[in-house]
């Protein structure tokens, strides 16, 4: 007979944290570069803020609108009021999703992702995440990460968007 206190998973947590940081900045960038992302954010109320992260204690990514502009607010859930949380049930599942082994849709159908907040907002956020993934990832991986890869987008549009999103993400502008 023994009593055990659960240990940690620092490596997977670090991976997830880095990816959330990158994705958060990429969303901020995409809102400036891509019309669709911008349009989607426009449907959301002012000061709307959402968080994506893992139970029970992170890491998290907080993104929201501030004075009409989309901003990545870091990983602290307490930094401002949050209207919607996309919650991954555990760090292993977060790793599966953020290492693109499971798409957002697939993870949802596998009960790995829970929504805490209004469903319409969650759907907007998922659409935004899908577009950002298309920009960030090579086609081969992105077509696994989204339900339908937008192969009808003109090549120039995709390339320009990709360059824009990457530059701004890396520079943090």
């Amino acid at each position: 007979m023994q009593e055990i206190h659960a240990g940690g998973k620092p490596l997977k947590k670090a991976y997830v944290a880095i990816f959330l940081w990158f994705t958060g900045r990429a969303i901020q960038a995409a809102a400036k570069v891509d019309k669709e992302v911008k349009k989607e954010f426009d449907t959301l109320p002012d000061e709307f803020t959402f968080a994506l992260g893992s139970l029970p204690n992170g890491p998290w990514m907080v993104v929201g609108k501030e004075k009409g502009k989309v901003k990545y607010f870091g990983g602290n859930l307490k930094c401002r009021p949050i209207h919607l949380r996309l919650v991954i049930k555990n760090i292993e599942a977060a790793f599966l999703i953020l290492s693109f082994q499971e798409s957002t849709a697939l993870a949802t159908t596998r009960n790995r992702l829970m929504t805490d907040g209004e469903v319409p907002y969650a759907l907007s956020v998922i659409r935004i995440l899908d577009i950002v993934e298309v920009y960030l990832l090579p086609k081969l991986i992105a077509s696994l990460a989204v339900k339908r890869y937008p192969s009808w987008w003109p090549f120039g549009h995709k390339l320009a968007g990709r360059i824009g999103v990457y530059t701004r993400t890396l520079l943090g502008i």
């Binding site: 849709a105 697939l106 949802t108 159908t109 596998r110 009960n111 790995r112 829970m114 929504t115 805490d116 469903v119 319409p120 969650a122 759907l123 907007s124 998922i126 077509s143 989204v146 339900k147 339908r148 890869y149 937008p150 192969s151 009808w152």
Partner: protein
Amino acid sequence: MILPDYYEFCCRVQIVAGHDALEKIPALLAEMGAKKPLIVTDKGVAAAGLVDIVVNALKEGVTIGGIADNVPPDSDLKVVNQLAGLYRDNACDAIIAVGGGSVMDTAKGVNIVVSENATDLMAFSGAGALNRRLKPLVAIPTTAGTGSEVTLVAVIKDHEKHQKMLFTSYFLLPNVSILDSRMTMTMPPFITAMTGMDALSHAVEGYYCLQKNPLSDAHSLAAVNMIHQYLSMVTKNPADKEGRLAMAVGACLAGISFSNSMVGIVHNLGHATGAVCGVPHGICMAVLLPYGLEYNMHKRRDIIAELLLPMAGEDVYLKTPRAERADKVVSLIRQMNQDLNVITGGRHARYFSEVKDRDGKQMVPRDVLPEIAKAALFDGATIYNPEDSDYEDNLLVLEAAWEGKPLDRSKIKKG
């Protein structure tokens, strides 16, 4: 049989079915330590004499703590609180819900209030807010369609604050669902047809949507078989006892399937059409089902084809070439709508342009389709649909369903 990489399945509800299933309620309540149930229902159900049948079946074994028949068609927080008061005042120890979706929702809401001693129901909304057993709840569905006797969701509206509260928890599942043929026997043909098509849409969408799993599949196959076999029959002959029981069981199987595998574009567009135009849910399902199948055909052909044998039986299956099985499923569902349209003297709509209200006014004018297409973008069912659907896709499907023409599948954007 496909084993998904990961799946979850749960239906804890005890199902008791039969021509005299109601008579088993006192014993079932006793097993749960209850002997004074509150009966929750609505005026329509009571007027149809169904509550009397229930009371007659119960009176030998239990004391009825009260009968509340004032559940509105749209669940309402005020009524929930009022019924909770009735429950407490009469020292009830269980709830029996007799009716359709809104009665079930209300009963679940009352159960939260009385079990958690809640003053603010809102505190228990959202996932994970309920985490212990509630009071015994017995569900007696009076339509063979919604499947809400086996679902874990309740929607309660606060009409004063214009808020819609969503409750999701396994603890909201009824303890027992009673499927008794007497409860649907008096349902008029038009309602029978549309609730039956609602059930079929659960079974079929549950079978092709992304969260399908081996157990939901098995429930769907059985449901499709029973519904296809009996729906036209009971619509034509409402007093068909065996058929009524089979439809109740079929709808329950379909409910178990979709509450585990979720639903897709048919429900997505259907919810939006209901919200924008007030069209009854079952009619939306009947109209949209063939189009949902067509929209997903390029991704789910083989899976849809598997529905042919349970649906149509051996002869049709043998006569249909392998490559055409999925298309045959779609045409059989269109045929069902056609048959039901004839049986109900034209009341069962086949296309949206045919849907009329009581005054004969068209309920879905063509120019609202863009509004519906837009509203559908914000309905959760879109997640579980195999193919992605944006505004243009939604409009494409809605327009075809309005005109009653098969979907032009070459226009669907494929990734």
